[in-house]
Structures are given as C-alpha cells and as structure tokens.
C-alpha cells in the first residue's frame, strides 16, 4: 500500500543523549603512574550532555560548535562507534550500536581527522574490499565509482598506497570509500580540515550534489563557508548542549553581518578620519603600520564596492582582502548569550542588543 506522509520522514531521532568519559586521574611521572595502579581514581567528563535532535529525510544539517563541544562524540554515537551513557538514538529505525553491521550498510561516515582506508593498501584495494563487504555487484560498483571519480578525481589516486597520499588526496579517497554504497545518511565530521581552496571547493560541491540527490547530511565543520550553500539548518552546540537549532539564514542575518576588508596602501596615511567620514557606520582602523588599513562594516547597510570606492578616493591601494567571518564568530556570540534557542526550536530571538 502506498503510504502518504503528512510530514517528512524522520531519519535521525535523538533524545536526551549523553556521553560521559572516565578519565584516569594520574599525577605526572612514574610515581603518579604507579600510584594510579594502586588506588585507581577517575574523574568524569561529560562530553555530550542531554542532546535532543531530530533530522528529517533529505535534510542537510550543519552541526557546529567550539573545540571540545562534543560534536565528534555525537557523531560517534549516531554512527554506532560509541555506546551512549544515557538517552536514545534511532537512525533509520535502528539503534546504531546494537545493529552495527546493518547500520553500516545504510550510513556513510567521514572523519576528516582520520582515514578509514586500509593504511598499507592501494586505494583501489580498499575500495574493492568495501565493495565486497557491502556486497555491491560489479556493474553497480563500476557505475558508482565512475560517478565518484567524476567529482572527486580519483583516477590517479587508485593505484597509490593510502599512507602515501597527501591530505587532500586522502580526503577525496575517504569520501569515495564512505559513499561507495550510496548511503541514505551521511555524517561528515570536518571533511575540509587542512585542505587547500581548490580541494575544499571540490568537496563542497560534491556534498552539495549529495544533498541535491536527496541524501540526508549532517556536516560538522569550523569553516562557515562549508555550510553556507549546503545547509539550511544549523545546530550549534556548546559544552555538550544544544544552544541553537534553527534556520541558518536567520542566524547569518543577525550575527554574521560584519565583514571586514583589509588594505595595504602605497603610501602612509596621515589619518583615517577622511575615509571614516565617507563611510558612516563603519569602523576604520589603521594597522600596526600606517600603510595598513582595516574597515569593518555591516554588510546589510554597506557593500564591499562602496568601501573600496571610499578607500580608493583617499589613497592608492597595493593589495586588499576580505575576511569572511568564521563560524566561531557566531558561536562566540551565541555563547555570550546574545542568542537563545526558542522553546519550540524555532527562530532565534535577541536577548541582549
């Protein structure tokens, strides 16, 4: 019978998720270690502290937060690597850590920090082993590989032993390995870490295409540009708790309005007042050297072109660049209490102006 869904199907359902790590309490040095052997003391560290989350099929969610916030730990619980200390996880109807093998058939995971390829084998061998584990037929494998090759440029990586790959090459191979079985759900934990602009762009457009094809994606990153054209929803966590869950655009409109442009000038400026006068509302500062200049402005009221025109009118520019705000800027603002999640998980509301 054909099912009619009033609402989109929920693929990932998380309630009250918690993870507590036990860390040995050891004094430094040999004496400390020996002492620990005798009286084993542990301190508890709460990495994930009661997270509720629900992700619908086909959604692309950015999962962000400062270092140590508990993002990777969450992903590890969602993918079945870690058993939660408390709470429920249900991914596509399965409890991941109970049904590991079945879960692995449905999800794809990439950890940017660590490869999942066989270290000592050529990439091709790794992919073929995965093909056999997933039980993919020869035709389907060839087809998928060709498609992955198209976007990721795998051809020249296939004969190379994984440990000899550069970081960017390895990431491309890892993405291929994680997506070979065309999973419905994909977790990407910092897939662009350490990559150069060209490879980053490639990875981003690849993920965009995944989302366009209807794959459910959860993306963890420290680079705001990664999520900008990929995700519509952003979940911000800090110290193991969700501090914001809602629309990415509205977060950006309220909190990522600031841009800054830096200029290197041909000659020293006597002062910045004349430029500042041309740019009401913007902050104009001289750098450590009087030939350097930084303009910070609200992108909703001023355009980069106007800023450039104002500076050009007063000085000769040698070099310039625009600084994109990092996700940390948003997170810091959230942390400073400027943004609170609505009880219904809806749109944000300013509490401090």
């Amino acid at each position: 019978m054909e099912m009619v869904h009033a609402r989109p199907v929920t693929l990932i359902q998380v309630a009250g998720l918690r993870k507590v790590f036990r860390k040995p309490e050891k004094a430094p040095g040999l004496r400390g270690s020996l002492r620990h052997l005798l009286q084993r003391r542990f301190s508890e560290h709460v990495a994930v502290d009661g997270i509720d989350l629900s992700v619908a099929q086909g959604e692309a969610v950015a999962y962000v937060g400062p270092n140590g916030a508990g993002k990777s730990t969450t992903v590890k619980m969602l993918s079945g690597i870690l058993v939660p200390t408390a709470g429920q996880v249900l991914v596509d109807g399965l409890v991941p850590y109970r049904a590991r093998v079945e879960n692995a058939r449905r999800v794809g995971v990439v950890f940017g920090q660590r490869t999942q390829l066989w270290w000592d084998l050529p990439v091709r061998d790794s992919l073929e082993l995965l093909r056999d584990m997933h039980g993919l037929g020869a035709a389907r494998y060839r087809e998928t590989l060709a498609r992955l090759d198209d976007v990721l440029g795998l051809a020249d990586l296939l004969p190379v032993v994984a440990r000899k790959l550069s970081l960017g090459q390895r990431m491309r191979a890892d993405l291929a390995a994680a997506l070979l079985h065309e999973p419905r759900i994909v977790y990407l934990d910092e897939p662009t870490i350490g990559l150069d602009i060209a490879v980053k762009d490639r990875v981003r457009s690849f993920v965009r295409r995944l989302v366009a094809d209807g794959t459910t994606v959860m993306l963890t990153t420290h680079d705001l540009a990664d999520i900008e054209d990929i995700c519509r929803r952003i979940v911000i966590i800090d110290a193991g708790r969700v501090v914001y869950d809602g629309d990415l655009q509205s977060v950006k409109d309220t909190h990522v309005r600031e841009r800054s442009m830096s200029f290197e000038l041909a000659a020293g400026l006597p002062g910045v007042d004349r430029i500042a006068a041309r740019l009401p509302g913007a902050q104009v500062r001289a750098g450590s050297d009087d030939r350097e200049l930084t303009v910070t402005f609200d992108r909703m009221t001023l355009g980069a072109r106007e800023v450039l025109a104002a500076v050009l009118a007063e000085a000769e520019i040698v070099d310039m660049h625009i600084d994109e705000p990092a996700i940390e800027t948003v997170v810091r603002k959230v942390y400073a209490g400027q943004l609170r999640p609505e009880p219904d998980g809806g749109v944000d509301r300013e509490t401090v102006s």
Binding site: R100, A104, R114, D120, V161
Partner: protein, 267 residues
C-alpha cells in the same frame, strides 16, 4: 544461514589476502621473521634434547613423544598467527581509536580484528613444525592408520582454534587496561608455553589453570595424548574440538562486551 557463513568466510580470506599483499611490501621483514621463528622454535627443540640426555623420560613420556607435543604447539601456533594474528593488534587498535573504522564497515568487528594482520613468521613455524611432526611420528610407538591420521589432522586444527580463542580472550584485556601494549596477553601466552611439556609434571594449581581456566594444554599436551593414545589424558584430548569452540565463543563474547566499553579517542 549457510550462505551467510560462506560469505563471511570468503570475506575473511579476502581480508587476509589483502594483508598478505600489504605485508609482502616489506620483503626483507618477511625473511627475517620467518628465519627468526624457525630459530626460536629450534632452540626449544635443542633444549628438549639436552634435557633428555640426562633423563630418559619425563613422567612416563619419551623424548619423541615430547617432541610430538612440541611439534603440535609449533604447528598450532603457526596456524594461529597465519590466520588470526590480528588478535595481537587489539591493544594498539583499541587504544589509538583505530577500531572506529572497523565499526563503520558492514562486517563483524571481531572478524575484522582477527584478519587485520598476518604473521608471516607462521610459515616458518609451519615448516619447522611439520618437519618435527613427521620426525616424531616416525619414532613414536603408535600404529598409524587412516582414522588416526584423520584424528591427528582434526586435533591440529582444533588446537589452533584453542589458541586463537585464547589469544582473542587475553588480548581483550586492552578494553579494560587501556594500555597500547599487549603485556597481559603476552604474559598469559608465556604461561601457556608450560603446556609444551606433559602437564602431569606440574602441581595441581598449574594443571587446573592450564586445563580449565586458560586451557592452553588443549593446544598441545591433550591432543598429543589423544593421538598417541597415551595415558588417561587421551580421553580429555578427544574433547579438543569442543574446547576450541568454547574458547572461540568466550573470546567473541568478551570482545562484544569490551566493545560496549570502547571509547574511541579524543579526536
């Protein structure tokens, strides 16, 4: 069910094959490992020979009979490191968070761990062990027929199963000890070396440990007694396949229990 098991076995062979190829990248290592394996075991035989120069028998066991026990250990050990050396990598795998990748693949983690390394020294062991076995078989006072040879082969395979199960079990300590060294498993393995001699020479405590607690004696002494039809131990020796299944089961169970404690690593 059967089809599933066959698939799992086929994948296991695929994984091992991949490891062999990876290992053979380091050809020099292969020869050094094989040679040193042969040397280590040969030293043991010389030691035996030296003992038997001064005493004619140990607890009713002649020189060649003890060589047979010894050969059985060498072969079982060789088989276990060839097909399941991965157990020894658990300490590193667990404590550096490398188990993550295995938990994300649709194949039982325990089989991925066991197949994650191939001990090429196993070949050296097999060659030397088979040589010893043949030499011992020609000297011991037993009439050989098809049945006895079949029993011998079955028990050798079962003996390897016992060792693999015990290796897995003892290496699972990594989930609790959180040290990247397989110290605990290695000391248990060294303790198991006692079973290279007729266990009747030891005190009750050691005997019970080697028979019941960590039944290392089932990879050498008991199966040898069964093949030689020597003494009361021969009846126990016939149980070797059962003990092998038990050891593999308990190793797998403890592994599964350990997995629920696995904490990956901080990054």
């Amino acid at each position: 069910m059967v089809a599933e098991a066959r698939r799992a076995l086929w994948l296991y062979r695929r994984l091992l094959g991949a490891q062999v190829r990876a290992t053979l990248q380091y050809e020099a290592d292969f020869w050094i490992m094989s040679l040193s394996a042969v040397l280590v075991q040969a030293v043991g035989v010389v030691f035996l020979w030296a003992i038997f120069r001064s005493i004619p028998e140990i607890n009713g066991w002649q020189f060649w009979e003890v060589v047979l026990i010894y050969a059985l250990v060498v072969v079982a050990e060789g088989l276990s490191v060839l097909v399941a050396q991965g157990a020894w990598t658990l300490a590193v795998t667990v404590n550096f968070g490398q188990l993550d990748a295995m938990l994300l693949r649709p194949y039982p983690p325990v089989l991925q761990v066991l197949s994650s390394a191939v001990g090429m020294n196993g070949l050296g062991n097999l060659v030397l062990g088979t040589g010893l076995l043949i030499a011992a078989v020609r000297h011991v006072d037993v009439s050989w027929n098809v049945g006895r040879v079949a029993l011998g082969l079955l028990l050798v395979v079962a003996a390897a199963g016992v060792k693999i199960g015990l290796n897995l079990l003892t290496n699972c300590a990594a989930f609790w000890l959180r040290s990247p060294y397989s110290m605990f498993a290695f000391s248990m393995h060294s303790f198991g070396e006692l079973a290279r001699f007729p266990v009747t020479i030891y005190g009750l405590g050691v005997r019970i440990t080697l028979t019941v607690v960590l039944p290392y004696a089932f990879m050498s002494f008991f199966p040898a007694a069964a093949v030689l039809a020597h003494g009361p131990a021969r009846w126990l020796g016939l149980l070797t396949p059962v003990v092998a299944i038990y050891c593999l089961w308990i190793g797998t169970t403890v592994f599964r229990y350990g997995l629920s404690r696995y904490e990956s690593s901080g990054h």
